[in-house]
């Protein structure tokens, strides 16, 4: 049955941009550990994030607008993570996938960063060790809702986030 689509439609630009952006998120798979395996499973045919328009994994940050940090990040990798984040074009979002990326997980050692949100802005946290693909899909759905509710054509909502959102660096005695 053919849909009855009118010849002319009127829409405000912000919701139109949000609709387009939310349904074509291109992830940057920053997969460093076992969460990366679940990320691959999410992209594969059984769970298939193509249903949510987020299947185009790009390995160049210039072509991405969603960074998925999947796995622990060590102090040698964090400058790379920050550089890749800065290389991604606007508008961009970040999902911190799994316990290690969100808090360091069980790796409370000298080399492992205790949560990437201490050093880069994070939009969605996914709990789990590692999270199941359904959880990652739920975070993408939630991120789509966030984009549709808060997004603007010019990306002015990002400029208001001037304060550091994550926990402050630890004070060691």
């Amino acid at each position: 049955m053919a849909l009855a689509i009118p010849d002319v439609m009127l829409a405000r630009l912000d919701p139109l941009a949000n609709w387009v952006r939310a349904n074509s998120l291109w992830p940057m798979p920053f997969a460093t550990a076992c969460c990366g395996i679940e990320l691959m499973a999410t992209g594969a045919s059984k769970h298939d994030i193509a249903r949510f328009g987020a299947e185009v994994m790009r390995f160049s940050p210039r072509q991405c607008d969603l960074m998925i940090v999947a796995g622990r990040v060590v102090m040698k990798m964090l400058p790379v993570l920050q550089r890749i984040w800065l290389q991604m074009p606007e508008p961009k979002w970040c999902i911190s996938m799994g316990a290690c990326a969100s808090s360091g997980g069980v790796f409370d050692t000298y080399a492992v960063v205790q949560g990437v949100d201490r050093f880069i802005p994070v939009d969605m946290y996914v709990p789990g060790c590692p999270p199941r693909p359904e959880q990652l899909i739920q975070s993408i759905i939630d991120l789509q809702a966030k984009i549709k509710q808060t997004g603007t054509l010019q990306g002015t909502e990002f400029g208001k986030r001037t304060e550091h959102m994550g926990p402050l660096p630890l004070h060691l005695n």
């Binding site: 800065l86 880069i120 208001k160 001037t162 660096p169």
Partner: protein, 165 residues
């Protein structure tokens, strides 16, 4: 070649060798000054042509330990399949050993790793740099007096807020 044959041959050339055997684990403990000669002898006269492992351990606060660092070389004879471990003890401030790189090229990265984690210097190593930790790292993290959570190295980064990225 039986282990006691090797040990007897070594003991005629080197004094102060301590040896022990547990199941198929054969160990020779040498002084750091004799280490390179013992390794050379094991390679050239006894056919241990492969260095399959080399590592170290910090015995700080270890019960009944008298020395600080133990450096262990695992040797393999690929012809006979025999293995032997050579161990030497080091104490601060003389943390220097002769490099085994002239004998086995495989010692290159192994010695770099021991240097990176324990700060033991290998004389004669062609390129003794850190291999795992960043170049700017100043501590030797597997030493027992280094705190598990570090000295703040993991938090020494600029914070990027969303507005400025």
């Amino acid at each position: 070649m039986a282990f006691d044959v090797i040990v007897n041959a070594l003991k005629t050339k080197f004094a102060d060798l301590a040896t022990s055997e547990f199941r198929d684990n054969r160990r020779i403990v040498v002084k750091p000054a004799q280490l390179f000669d013992v390794l050379t002898s094991l390679k050239t006269e006894h056919g241990f042509d492969m260095l399959f492992e080399m590592t170290a351990a910090d015995y700080l606060k270890y019960p009944n330990a008298t020395d600080r660092f133990g450096v262990v070389y695992g040797l393999l004879s690929t012809a006979s399949g025999e293995r032997v471990y050579v161990k030497t003890w080091l104490n601060e401030p003389e943390l220097t050993l002769p490099s085994a790189f002239p004998l086995w090229k495989g010692a290159d990265w192994l010695e770099r790793e021991v240097y990176d984690m324990y700060g033991i210097i290998f004389d004669g190593h062609p390129d003794l740099r850190r291999i795992l930790m960043p170049e700017a790292f100043t501590s030797f993290p597997l030493r027992k007096d280094y705190p598990l959570r570090g000295r703040g190295e993991r938090h020494n980064f600029p914070v990027i807020t969303r507005a400025e990225s």
